[in-house]
């Protein structure tokens, strides 16, 4: 790959651009699911991805990250997830066209055929097992498991990263304090997932692939899984280097890279920049604007939404379910809002009460 493209890409990418592009990509993917899943176009996309990897392979910095033994699953994840996204949305596209023509989904045509578990299922399971055993053995023979130096509490590696599947949460540490990024968000991911079946009252779409019959549910789920979970993991693995600084895909991980941080709290914006006064002494007075904002966001907005934009949803699923859904959605949206505020006005904390470790 020519140097000027590499340099352009290195300079072009930063966390803002990366996240914005992944969101745009996601929106385009969902909006055009009937087009890009056509086998030929999908093959073209795959070819582009492979081409990107081949062209980048000889770059030492790119190569170093991609070929690190523990990163192999993450690189494969890009392709595997791409494949399964294609597989599910392709089937959804086919079914949605059938449904529009008034035909039942493809799965329904054989739903009443019952086949015996022995031999049909047992054999496919066996084949699956044999293939996967072979894959694992080959993988293990060719790529030895790494072992670094012995643990040394006195020597902190830079960067220090959590296990790869938590890197999305570690990325959130840039924007939130640990009690949110490390405790509240994971908890809400779990409760949110558990609540899905009890809150989704849409009876359609059981047992077949579709997007048209459950657009909201699927879009929300995939947005959380792909944009907020997987792409942030990829960024955390490949593009976050020493001091958790952002590095372009072909950039050397320089420990001395400096990123000036001059983030400002909302209280300072409000009292100093807006009212031209000093910060109030007491934390409560100082943080009142932020506290009101958060309370409004958490408790005033849901009923407002219920009365306006989300009226239909509120009527369909009722008070309790609505509040559970909206609470999780609001927190999910809150993540994005805080990110955007950081990018645009360098906002550090909306509420900043270090006296009680309570910072939002």
């Amino acid at each position: 790959m020519p140097l000027f493209i590499k340099e352009f890409l290195n300079n072009f990418f930063n966390p803002t651009v990366y996240v914005v592009i992944s969101i745009i990509g996601f929106v385009v993917m969902m909006a055009t699911y009937r087009v890009w899943t056509k086998p030929r176009i999908a093959m073209g996309l795959l070819a582009l991805m492979v081409l990107f990897f081949i062209a980048s392979w000889s770059d030492p910095n790119f190569n170093k990250i991609v070929t690190k033994p523990d990163n192999v699953p993450i690189v494969s994840l890009v392709f595997i997830l791409g494949f399964f996204l294609w597989l599910s949305l392709r089937q959804a596209a086919i079914n949605d066209e059938r449904i529009e023509r008034g035909e039942p989904p493809r799965e329904a045509t054989e739903a009443n055929d019952r086949v015996l578990v022995w031999p049909d299922l047992v054999y496919s399971e066996l084949i699956c097992m044999v293939i996967f055993t072979a894959v694992l053995v080959l993988w293990s023979v060719f790529i030895p498991a790494p072992l670094e130096e012995p643990a040394n509490p006195g020597k902190t590696p830079n960067p220090s990263k959590a296990p790869w599947y938590f890197l999305g949460l570690q990325e959130m540490l840039v924007y939130f304090d640990p009690w949110i990024a490390g405790v509240v968000l994971p908890t809400m991911i779990i409760t949110g997932l558990i609540c899905i079946p009890y809150c989704d009252k849409n009876p359609k779409g059981v047992g077949y692939y579709t997007l048209k019959e459950r657009p909201f549910a699927i879009t929300t789920f995939l947005f959380g899984f792909i944009v907020l979970w997987v792409t942030l993991i990829i960024m955390g693995t490949a593009l976050r280097g020493p001091n958790w600084n952002f590095f372009g895909p072909y950039e050397k991980w320089d420990v001395h890279k400096l990123e000036t941080l001059s983030n400002v709290n909302l209280s300072e914006y409000f009292w100093i920049h807006l009212l031209h006064k000093g910060l109030p002494e007491h934390w409560f007075a100082r943080e009142l604007p932020g506290i009101l904002l958060i309370l409004g966001y958490m408790f005033v907005m849901p009923p407002l939404l219920a009365a306006t934009v989300c009226r239909k949803m509120f009527q369909q699923i009722g008070f309790l379910r609505y509040n559970i859904v909206i609470l999780h959605l609001i927190v999910m949206a809150g993540m994005m809002i805080k990110m955007v505020l950081r990018w645009t006005i360098n906002l550090k904390y909306i509420v900043f009460i270090p006296e009680y470790f309570f910072n939002i």
């Binding site: 494969s76 997830l81 670094e148 643990a151 779990i190 997932l193 059981v206």
Partner: protein, 270 residues
Amino acid sequence: MAKKGELGRVWDYVVNTQVWRSVMRHGYPDTPRNRSLAVLANLILHLHPIRLRKSGLRVRYTWCMGGLTFFLFLELTITGLLLMFYYRPTAEYAYNDIEYLRADVALGIMRELHRWGAHAMVISVWLHMMRVFMTGAYKPPREFNWSIGVILLVLTLLLSFTGYLLPWDQLAMWAVTVGTNMARATPVLGHEGPGASLVVVPYAEGAGTISVVHQASDVRFGLLGGRFVGAATILRFYVLHCVGFPLIAAFLIALHFWRVRKDGGISGPL
């Protein structure tokens, strides 16, 4: 099935011995009845129903992902057991034992099989969840099984996380340090969590208060068995990794499979 020729006679003899009959309660599975019995009379196979929807058999429907996850769970159990022969969970020995495994143990790919299998299981369990979601298979009557699944997902991550520490190299120690540092910010229960400084008890009449949640008493301390990731942490993580979480996971997987059957088999259009 009666087979022809010399071999057939041997076969017939063998399958009619008391020993064979005591083990296999049915004939060769080539009739519907015997095929049903093949599944019914087998402890492992009877996790399956006898029949299933043809659409549920299709790889393009299930992606075989739940099955793959289960396969990886079994693979990890077996390779993990073998690794336990060589590994001692103490700060003195852990690292050297892994090095020994790497350098000196014949046919030593157990560690690789275990490590790569664990990565693969994390991915396959996500993909399984995605397929269940995309087919709407969590909707009634399968709500509860989805919830069990979510707990299994969490357990998978916890299993992987506790295992991450055991090689006791720099990667292990610091990844777990970064991961568990979050715990000190747990609201109320972590010493740097919001509200923790409010949990206090009076020291003596008029002599101020002492905090209850501090560095040596918060959830992180309980998790690590100390203020830092150290010898006590290895032992804790080892016990959870090799005994605690696998037992819970095995139980929940059994429940998960049971519920797949009780909820009417693999989902399909109504």
